[in-house]
């Protein structure tokens, strides 16, 4: 069939076709060997955590573990909520409205992992440095987060991420 093309003949076609099939076959064999590195079933089974927030007083912060990572739960004061809501979105490197980051405005739930290179920011304890905007401060490379966990200054590219979470009763949240 290919003999009409200049220089190409049936043997060339067979070589290209068999090489292509060989590459496809090798890719099919390679995939399980790559995918085995992805999270295993038992790791995936630990994807949700439940937490009772009734013991968290106003002004208090609690760190819980979800997927092996710290999750910050902060019961914010009126002032902190006010500060988070009164910000001009143009001042934010990663603009996001505070209301979109919380289900219940009093309780801020976020993954406590700096979006720069994964350190745990300070600000959970009363004595911790909280950064220039009164939220959290990452000591590794100097990122400042505000009372809504939004990045304000430093190398981190985005806000502290809010994990999927819902209230399964008035006081219990399920994360994941």
């Amino acid at each position: 069939m290919a003999e009409s093309h200049a220089g190409a003949n049936r043997r060339d076609f067979i070589q290209v076709a068999s090489t292509t099939m060989g590459v496809v076959g090798a890719a099919c064999v390679a995939w399980p060997l790559i995918d085995q590195m992805n999270p295993a079933a038992d790791t995936l089974a630990l994807l949700t955590t439940e937490f009772d927030i009734s013991g968290v007083e106003e002004g208090m912060s609690v760190t819980i573990v979800w997927r092996g990572k710290p999750v910050f739960v902060r019961h914010r004061t009126e002032k902190e909520v006010e500060e988070a809501r009164s910000v001009d979105l143009d001042d934010l490197p990663d603009p996001e409205v505070d209301a979109d980051r919380t289900t219940n405005p009093k309780f801020l739930v976020m993954v406590g992992v700096c979006t720069h290179l994964g350190c745990v920011p300070l600000g959970q304890k009363a004595t911790d440095p909280k950064g220039e905007w009164g939220g959290w401060f990452c000591p590794c490379h100097g990122s400042h987060y505000d009372t809504s966990g939004r990045i304000r200054k430093g190398p981190a590219p985005s806000n502290l991420s809010v994990p999927p979470h819902e209230y399964i009763s008035d006081t219990v949240i399920r994360i994941g």
Partner: protein, 417 residues
């Protein structure tokens, strides 16, 4: 093959069927080597010996180490306290990593000064940069294994570098971790790869030596070997010189291993890993500090990661950036000055990598980062055009022995078996 005449009949019998003794004789005995090599040329074979020390101590340590988040830290402490000579073997391995980098960095700067990356040795140089990258990956994963605070947070920060890749970054990080944070699956695979990669290094080292022996070593004058009068056989002249250098190295190495084994480590790594608390100042091992300084100098996450990898990447294309036909810095008056500036810049970046990223340190790191790339990308290509090199000697024998004619007569190498 006109092989040597081995006196031992068993050697002759084997060599006839598998000419391995002929190969060794060619490449390690009669191998013609420039006769003017100085002590900076000791560091190649020294790096090979350190690699063997690391392999032997590493294989032994793996007989006692447990790669599990609940046991790793204790198993290392058990090596230090209970295993016979465990403390010594682990200190040799841990400090051996630092000394491996010291030796290899000297080896690299030797190549930079004497133009060892230039034609026809470009591929030899590139293979060397590949070895450096493999060493860095191996050292990084090895540092994670004791599962101390620096292990854990170093692993977290370095794996998070890949999250800067647009689109697929998070997917890649999850794949590397085998979960949603650095955890037991991560430790297991790092152990597996830490055991594998040194053997990959051995493979690339074989290619490196193969490429070296194609044209032979460069030399301090940077000119080609013109004939027999310019070279001497590798054995016994350079075997003995390398052995002497090894002796000096082992004195210094032993002094550190036995008298200050933790000088180059970080005390926080004697605290067991805690995924909930990041240490106040995360610092990588000293040999990564210049690259860490470059990463932090750039305020943008993705660009910082790119700059850090580009700092190594630029070495791959170095043979095509420096177009000057003169190899040795000895005959390049301007290049010579900037070589020392580059070395000073790397020392500065090493210092800044250990400092907190604030105030004047950030500004200095930016200047240092700029200068590093300026040297390779602007200065070297420009110097290739504008610099007038000094006249080169006619042959290696000429400057060594005075007049070229006397050299040819005096330098007939004696073949003492």
């Amino acid at each position: 093959m006109s092989g040597p005449n081995f006196p031992n009949p068993i050697v002759r019998w084997i060599d006839h069927r598998l000419p391995i003794f002929t190969l060794m004789h060619h490449e390690m005995h009669e191998y013609p080597t420039p006769k003017n090599l100085n002590y900076w040329w000791n560091f190649g074979s020294l790096a090979g010996i350190v690699l063997v020390i690391m392999l032997v101590t590493g294989i032994v340590l793996s007989m006692h180490y447990t790669a599990h988040v609940d046991y790793a830290f204790q198993s290392v402490e058990r090596i230090m306290r209970d295993v016979n000579y465990g403390w010594m073997i682990r200190y040799i391995h841990a400090n051996g990593a630092s000394f491996f980098f010291i030796v290899v960095y000297i080896h690299i700067f030797r190549g930079l000064y004497f133009g060892s990356y230039k034609a026809p040795r470009e591929l030899l140089w590139i293979l060397g940069v590949v070895i450096l990258l493999l060493m860095m990956a191996t050292a990084f994963m090895g540092y994670v294994l004791p599962w101390g605070q620096m292990s854990f947070w170093g692993a977290t920060v370095i794996t998070n570098l890949f999250s800067a890749i647009p689109g697929i970054g998070d997917w890649i990080v999850t794949l590397l971790w085998g979960g949603f944070s650095v955890d037991n699956p991560t430790l297991n695979r790092f152990y597996s790869l830490h055991y594998l990669l040194p053997f990959a290094i051995v493979g690339v080292v074989v290619l490196h030596i193969w490429a070296l022996h194609r044209f032979g070593s460069n030399n301090p004058l940077g000119i080609d070997v013109r004939g027999k009068q310019d070279s001497i056989p590798f054995h016994p002249y350079y075997t003995i010189k390398d052995m002497f250098g090894l002796g000096v190295f082992l004195i210094i190495f032993s002094a550190v291993v036995f008298f200050m084994p933790n000088a180059m480590g970080h005390p926080d790594n004697y605290i067991p890993a805690n995924p909930m608390v990041t240490p106040a100042n995360i610092v990588p091992e000293w040999y990564f500090l210049p690259f860490y300084a470059i990463l932090r100098a750039i305020p943008d996450k993705l660009l910082g990661v790119i700059a850090m990898f580009a700092a190594i990447g630029v070495l791959f294309i170095l043979p095509w950036l420096d177009r000057s036909p003169v190899r040795s810095g000895t005959f390049r008056p301007i290049f010579k000055v900037f070589f020392w500036m580059l070395l000073a810049d790397c020392v500065l970046l090493t210092y800044l990598g250990a400092k907190p990223p604030e105030g004047v340190y950030v500004i200095l790191a930016r200047i240092g980062t700029f200068y590093y790339f300026f040297h390779f990308l602007i200065l070297l290509p420009a110097l290739s055009i504008f610099e007038t090199p000094k006249p080169l000697p006619r042959s290696i024998s000429q400057p060594v022995l005075g007049s070229g004619a006397a050299a040819a007569a005096a330098a007939m190498p004696k073949e003492n078996s």
